[in-house]
């Protein structure tokens, strides 16, 4: 069954392909390499999860796709982002604005402050629809009502004329999702969409995103630091650490056979219902300062298995099996010893 799924997935068309993306921030203290050579693909209809600690470059990757990196101090210094065959990094401002909100939409972390307080929610959704679909005010309002119904806002005719402060956090996130989906985007980027919500609302919102993904046929790039969410939502996962993807694999392998020590550490530090433990495992140390990265593999100071080569040399991202990529010397060594074929990606 797994095999068929994999095959089906490979046959799907690539929607977004990021190649060797480098986004750096030039600050007074030095250059912060927030994203340093990230590559991945998202197929049509796929949900890709990006996990990592704060400062690992998840959000910067997302903002780079949208070309919303604040400049100065940030700049995309290298790489290509192909979306539907076009390199987004080569587009004029005007062209990228037509893609934002229409083809690629984004849901942000903070629903409480993501809506303009001086406008009603109906107006704000209507604005996006008018902007991208050339509808007039009346039609836009009709469409806004429609889409608010889809995202499950009760009593829409009344709610549409509410100001954001009159809605609860979950409600507002639904409005944000409605706004993001109002122009039928092909890619939805959700940047920690549930971090600011309480747990019951979290589940509702995630279910909603999943349902709508099916309904609208969009691909989703889900950024989170919660492996639980990843488990529920994603097809494939990219684990990020200090601006690099350290492991990329499908969801089953991630939980069953993680290869990178960091990923192993992450899955060990999730509380589990069925196993009783006294202390939850943690990964020792903290995320390195991006201004002063350790030499070689950035994870080596926190890694239990690090050896000499880790300190000296940055490992390459290598493909172990079909679409399972790992960036670790250890894995390479082990595979070599087993004489399994591997190839550069």
């Amino acid at each position: 069954m797994m095999y068929h799924q994999d095959k089906a997935r490979r046959d799907m068309k690539t929607l977004l392909e990021i190649k060797n993306l480098k986004t750096h921030f030039f600050t007074h203290e030095g250059t912060v390499k927030a994203v340093d050579g990230v590559s991945f693909k998202i197929n049509q209809g796929e949900t890709l999860g990006i996990v990592g600690e704060s400062g690992s470059g998840k959000s910067v990757t997302a903002l780079s796709v949208m070309r919303l990196i604040p400049h100065p101090p940030g700049k995309i210094v290298g790489g290509e982002i192909y979306f539907e065959g076009k390199d987004l990094l080569k587009l004029e401002d005007k062209e990228i604005r037509k893609i934002r909100g229409k083809k690629i939409s984004m849901i942000f972390q903070e629903p409480m402050t993501s809506l303009d307080p001086v406008f009603t929610v109906g107006y704000e959704i209507g604005e996006v629809i008018q902007l991208h679909q050339g509808l007039n005010k009346k039609e836009a309002r009709k469409k806004a009502i429609e889409i608010l119904k889809i995202v499950g806002i009760p009593d829409v005719e009344k709610r549409i004329d509410n100001y954001p402060h009159e809605l609860s956090g979950g409600m507002r996130q639904r409005v944000m999702i409605a706004m993001a989906l109002s122009c039928n985007p092909t890619l939805l980027i959700a940047d920690e969409p549930t971090t600011a919500l309480d747990v019951t609302i979290q589940a509702q919102i995630l279910r909603l995103i999943n349902e709508l993904k099916g309904e609208f046929g969009a691909s989703v790039m889900l950024i989170t630091h919660d492996l639980g969410i990843i488990a529920e939502m994603c097809d494939n996962v990219a684990v990020m650490y200090a601006g690099h993807i350290v492991e990329y694999t499908d969801i089953y392998t991630l939980f069953n056979h993680p290869l990178h020590p960091y990923t192993k550490g992450l899955s060990k530090s999730i509380p589990r219902m069925n196993i009783e433990v006294e202390h939850l495992d943690t990964i020792p140390g903290i995320v390195p300062n991006l201004l002063d990265l350790p030499s070689g593999c950035p994870f080596h100071p926190r890694c239990d298995f690090s050896f000499k080569r880790c300190v000296e040399e940055m490992p390459e991202l290598i493909e172990i099996e079909n679409s399972h990529l790992v960036k670790c010397h250890l894995v390479k060594k082990r595979i070599r010893s087993k004489k399994v074929e591997w190839k550069n990606w």
């Binding site: 919303l68 934002r100 942000f108 993501s114 009603t120 902007l131 100001y163 706004m179």
Partner: protein, 293 residues
């Protein structure tokens, strides 16, 4: 949509009601505006009678045996009714105030928004010019500008408008700097809004509250400065009934006992400034969310 708008206005009115001094200020301002609008109906005499009735010159008002009929606050050195001139003067002063603040707002909001939103060298350039303008005392700068432009009430309004622009620009810049970092601006960028759209639809409406407050307070100082320019003979030219000019033409008669010619225009200036200041302070208390209780 209507319902919520109304409740917002209601809330504003309700909060205003509890602020006694703001209500007092509002009352003064309303009276002032009514006087200005209906000056030609309520004024007992013409502010600029021709030919001049010089035989009434410096006659006292109702408090004296020697009063002239129909001039309750007495006559000035040219025999003109002081009350009528003050009422018509309200028109001149308020217009001057509104025009000057209007100019300051248009220029200030334009430059302040550009400066705050785009930052970088645009910000640096505009803010250095603002710094230079701040280095001069306001009235002195206004005098310089009037000297360059030439005398007259219209020139005085422009001069005061220009002098107030830096303050306005600073105020709006600081609120734009705050607002542009808000998430909903990021969201607007993410849905593909252009800079112009973001500025006009989302940044400005959210940063305008302090401008309203300072605009009201500025109106008071604009009236005062306009009167000062009139007093110096650089603003309104005779026979325009402008409070400052009235004051300057009559203060020398105080020593000879005709105190009314200078005192009443002075009181008019005093009250309008007090009224506007109280209202402005009140509005600040109401609109500033940090002071909300």
């Amino acid at each position: 949509m209507k319902r919520t708008r109304e409740t917002k206005t209601h809330e504003l009115v309700r909060r205003l009601k509890y602020n006694k001094s703001a209500v007092f200020g509002l009352a003064i301002v309303v009276i002032l505006i009514l006087c200005a609008i209906f000056a030609n109906y309520i004024a007992p005499n013409s502010p600029t009678p021709s030919p001049p009735e010089l035989f009434k010159a410096l006659k006292p008002g109702f408090w004296s045996e020697d009063k002239v009929e129909g001039m309750p606050l007495g006559a000035d050195a040219m025999g003109r009714c002081i009350l009528s001139r003050i009422l018509y003067g309200a028109r001149v002063s308020l217009t001057a105030g509104f025009v000057a603040v209007g100019i300051a707002m248009i220029l200030g909001i334009t430059f302040g928004t550009l400066s705050g939103y785009y930052g970088g060298w645009v910000d640096a350039l505009i803010m250095r010019i603002v710094d230079i303008m701040f280095a001069f005392p306001a009235l002195l700068l206004a005098i310089v500008i009037v000297t360059v432009l030439g005398q007259g009430l219209d020139k005085a309004m422009i001069a005061i408008g220009i002098v107030y622009t830096p303050q306005m620009a600073r105020i709006i810049r600081s609120s734009v700097l705050y607002i542009k970092e808000m998430e909903y601006i990021e969201v607007q960028k993410a849905i593909g809004s252009s800079d112009a759209r973001i500025i006009f639809r989302h940044v400005l409406p959210n940063s305008i509250a302090p401008v309203i407050v300072y605009g009201t307070l500025m109106l008071a100082s604009a009236i005062l400065d306009c009167a000062a320019l009139g007093f110096l003979g650089l603003g309104a030219q005779p026979p325009t009934p402008e409070w400052g000019a009235m004051l300057s033409k009559s203060y020398s008669y105080i020593v000879s006992g005709a105190w009314w010619a200078a005192t009443f225009p002075g009181i008019a200036i005093l009250f309008s400034v007090i009224g506007l200041n109280l209202l402005g302070d009140g509005l600040r208390d109401i609109l500033d969310p940090r002071l909300k209780t």
